[in-house]
């Protein structure tokens, strides 16, 4: 089994992989009710799952919107969370990954689908965990100011300001770049109230047409994909989060087209 296509007995909630995604896709069959019906769909799970997600439907509605974090330089696709999940994710970043519960007597960890050789994922997680943890331990033992590194570890819950207060610094003018265009443009996000307005404006500005958006597959059809860089420096797909959240966290826009976009298209 090389991870490219996996057959799992139908008793278990299952996913069947149709194509080979890039490395480090982390898959799970944790949400049988929602995705078992589409065999070719590759479900990207959160890195951590809380046991109550199965039991608490309401929570899932809140958790429904997921963001793809696209890091071009690392070529890793990782699920990033919305506010509700973000809290869980932040909290659990030191914890080892999946906590599975026994659902209907099935230990879902056994049915977890992974790519890559067994053991590699584990090593990577532990490394992640130990890295962050040692960061903290170092802080305590040295008790001196943390040396400012270019990518400073974001400390959870510091400074102690409640999340709704942090939404104050909304960016309005953002640079927009389009692959292949000779110069960048700037737009004021505040002048748009929703995604269709923004996309229409971008289409007019750069003379392109954008494909159909769907939550599962992003923008299909035209080979043009709008992405944005958020406050944390990650490149995200435009359209996944509610408009307000997007407009307050977007720092710049990039319209991808050509080979990069095609690669992403086929991956999805």
């Amino acid at each position: 089994m090389d991870g490219q296509s996996v057959y799992v007995p139908p008793l278990f909630p299952c996913l069947i992989l149709a194509s080979h995604p890039p490395d480090n896709f982390y898959l799970s069959s944790f949400y049988p009710n929602f995705y078992a019906s589409s065999p070719t769909f590759i479900y990207l799970s959160p890195l951590f799952s809380s046991s109550t997600k199965l039991t608490n439907e309401k929570n899932h509605n809140k958790n429904k919107r997921r963001i793809l974090r696209w890091k071009p330089h690392k070529n890793i696709l990782v699920k990033k969370k919305t506010t509700q999940e973000h809290r869980e994710n932040d909290f659990l970043i030191l914890k080892k990954t999946m906590t599975y519960e026994k659902v209907n007597e099935l230990n879902l960890k056994d049915t977890e689908l992974r790519l890559g050789l067994p053991g590699t994922e584990q090593a990577k997680e532990e490394q992640e965990v130990s890295c962050v943890r040692s960061n903290k331990r170092q802080l305590q033992s040295d008790n001196e100011e943390e040396s400012t590194s270019p990518t400073k570890t974001q400390i959870v819950g510091w400074p102690p300001v409640r999340s709704y207060r942090k939404n104050n610094n909304s960016v309005s003018y953002v640079k927009v770049s389009m692959d292949g265009a000779p110069y960048l443009r700037k737009i004021d996000l505040k002048t748009y109230k929703n995604y269709p307005e923004l996309l229409k404006a971008l289409e007019n500005m750069f003379k392109f047409t954008i494909g159909e958006y769907s939550e599962r597959e992003g923008y299909k059809g035209s080979g043009v994909i709008p992405t944005y860089e958020d406050k944390d420096g990650d490149w995200m797909l435009v359209g996944d989060v509610p408009w307000d959240m997007f407009s307050s966290s977007c720092k710049r826009l990039r319209i991808m087209k050509g080979s990069d976009a095609l690669a992403l298209d086929s991956a999805l």
Binding site: F91, T99, K152, W158, P160, S163, Y164
Partner: protein, 604 residues
């Protein structure tokens, strides 16, 4: 405005007395034994019902079993500081005629993502138990509880005389739950949603209020992130003659506020102004907003300004002279915009703002607001490495100008010991001192020394201090001061501070009134934890996250103190022997460990 308002009196003391008391009151003086017991009980009832304060009632209940029983019969307002300290059944067994419940759930650090979302603090068991036991319940005030729409529906149906619902920092419900409450609670006087996370279920809850004249006195929904039906709101305000407090959310524009004020301005005492920006830009002539505010003759509390358009800010000038409370903490106001406003606010006692007003703005506050009791300065840009617009200069000015200051919350990037020492001398009335130097482990930026002396001066000179939050570079010396002088401290928040276990020991051994201890990312370990074992039964909770505790020690504590619930959150579930404790949260409980703990919580 109740961001972390603290109750001054201690929590309900439910521990000493057993739930049942026999009819014979053997502990009473011999002469009373000649009276039939029920007469004595009646007399006591008539007397004890006048006791309002929690402390007094707790004291009275300790006199003897009869007093305990009668006090239980006459207490109408119950305060429960930790929802897991007892079960709902115990509440209904002891107190028979409760009309009002104040219930607090999660610890404060849960607000900062240090605790997973599904940890607990569910309101459901409480509402279902009370539905049967207290049909005459009138008021529920919840803080940091998880409340679902079903809970709200049950509440609305079970209590026909329900009058006041206050939800502070709660979550789990949405506008559909609010709609049910609005619709079914016909005697509703107060509906306050404060800093809660309300899901937008796309329900027009404002239209759900009954059609006839309402009893509404207070309606606060500034935290609801969902548009509302303004026409319905106008109608509601029009038929609510008793309405005194109205706090709108950011989906209400300035024009709409103007229309509401024309309807009901004279009665309003508290106004949350919504977005304070114009919704419809196309209109050329904006209405006379200042005239609308002039009509607000009774407004003493002003808040809102969620998406402030600064050019309209002068419209509030007519009310400034009467204001006792002003909340600008969502408005990015520069000093130049701010000074003309604050110069009129002579009566101001409570002031919340963003640090965008800078030291200059704080100096203006100090010059004008001589009656100031509470000041909160929040960071516009809450990150560690930014240039802070406020500093020790602002704090110094405030300490010199506002001598009556009682409560302070101050976020800044740099601070000096000198400013803190000055404040400790200038403001002897301080009871709450919370300073957050956002850069972790920052020393005094002038002298380069640790912030020990500054905080030491605060605990030493502010003799009434009950709540303290520290930050910056702190050594064990600071904690030595706290232990030596902080005799009245009830709440202590520590982050990234201290050198060794001795620091925590000083506090645990030296602060006899300590109730709530929350510590994160500090080098305190097992020795420190063990040193406080004589205190934990007298405390509401202890929170320690990212410290140096081991599982073994926590287990020892749990074993030694059976009525203490010791929760370890986030440690490895697969490996119970894993020694490092990520988060420890422990609290006393009369009814043992809770049954609704999620998987990531291990109760030792």
């Amino acid at each position: 405005m109740s961001e972390d308002d603290e109750d001054q009196s201690p929590a309900t003391d439910l521990r000493s007395q057993p739930p049942c008391s026999p009819n014979k009151s053997r502990n009473c003086i011999s002469s009373s034994q000649t009276f039939p017991d029920h007469v004595l009980e009646n007399v006591l009832e008539n007397v004890l019902q006048f006791l309002d304060s929690r402390c007094d009632r707790n004291a009275a209940s300790l006199v003897c079993k009869l007093w305990w029983k009668v006090e239980g019969l006459t207490r109408s307002e119950v305060f429960i500081g930790n929802c897991y300290a007892l079960s709902p059944a115990r509440l209904t067994q002891r107190f028979k005629r409760v009309r009002s419940l104040l219930l607090k759930g999660k610890p404060r650090f849960a607000d900062f993502n240090l605790m997973p979302a599904d940890w607990g603090a569910n309101f459901a068991p409480w509402v279902s138990t009370m539905a049967k036991a207290y049909p005459w319940l009138e008021k529920v005030d919840l803080k940091r509880m998880f409340v679902t729409d079903d809970d709200l529906a049950l509440l609305a149906e079970s209590f026909p005389g329900f009058k006041e619902l206050i939800l502070v920092c709660c979550e789990g419900f949405g506008t559909s739950g609010i709609a049910v409450v609005a619709n079914k609670c016909r005697k509703l006087k107060v509906l306050d949603l404060i800093e809660s996370d309300v899901t937008d279920d796309e329900v027009d809850w404002v239209s759900c209020f009954p059609e006839d004249v309402t009893c509404l006195e207070s309606l606060a929904f500034d935290c609801v992130e969902a548009p509302i039906n303004f026409k319905a709101l106008e109608g509601l305000v029009g038929r609510s003659p008793l309405l005194r407090k109205l706090r709108l959310n950011r989906f209400v524009s300035l024009e709409e506020v103007h229309r509401l004020l024309l309807l009901g301005a004279p009665q309003l005492t508290s106004l949350g102004t919504g977005s304070f920006s114009r919704g419809d830009q196309s209109q050329q002539e904006p209405p006379d907003y200042a005239a609308a505010f002039r009509a607000c003759k009774s407004v003493v509390c002003l808040s809102g300004f969620r998406e402030l358009m600064p050019e309209y800010l002068p419209a509030i000038l007519p009310v400034c002279a009467n204001l006792t409370s002003l909340n600008f903490s969502y408005a990015n106001i520069s000093p130049d915009m701010f000074k003309p406003i604050i110069h009129n606010c002579h009566k101001l006692q409570i002031f919340w703002a963003l640090d965008s007003i800078c030291d200059e703005g704080l100096q203006a506050v100090a010059a004008t607001c001589k009656e100031l009791r509470e000041l909160r300065i929040f960071p516009f840009d809450p990150r560690e490495d930014t240039e802070g617009p406020v500093s020790e200069l602002g704090l110094q000015a405030i300490s010199e100008g506002c001598r009556k200051l009682e409560s302070l919350l101050y976020f800044c990037q740099h601070m000096t010991n000198a400013a803190l020492i000055a404040m400790s001398h200038n403001c002897p009335e301080l009871t709450v001192f919370r300073l957050c130097i956002m850069g972790r482990l920052r020393p005094d930026h002038v002298t380069g020394k640790a912030m020990d002396e500054g905080f030491g001066a605060i605990v030493k000179n502010c003799k009434k201090l009950t709540r303290l939050a520290v930050s910056g570079l702190l050594t064990d010396q600071a904690f030595r001061y706290m232990g030596e002088y902080g005799k009245l401290i009830r709440t202590l928040s520590v982050a990234f501070a201290g050198d060794s276990d001795m620091a925590l020991r000083h506090v645990l051994e030296g602060c006899p009134r300590l109730q709530k201890l929350e510590i994160r990312d500090s080098p305190f370990g097992d020795v420190a934890l063990r040193s406080g074992m004589h205190r934990y039964y007298n405390m509401r909770f202890v929170w320690m996250s990212a410290c140096r505790l081991t599982m073994g020690c926590c287990k020892d504590v749990a074993r030694a103190m059976p009525n203490l619930v010791v929760e370890v959150i986030g440690s490895d579930d697969d490996d119970v022997n894993r020694d490092y404790v990520e988060t420890l949260y422990m609290y006393r409980s009369l009814d043992g460990p809770r049954k609704d703990a999620p998987q990531f919580v291990t109760i030792l």
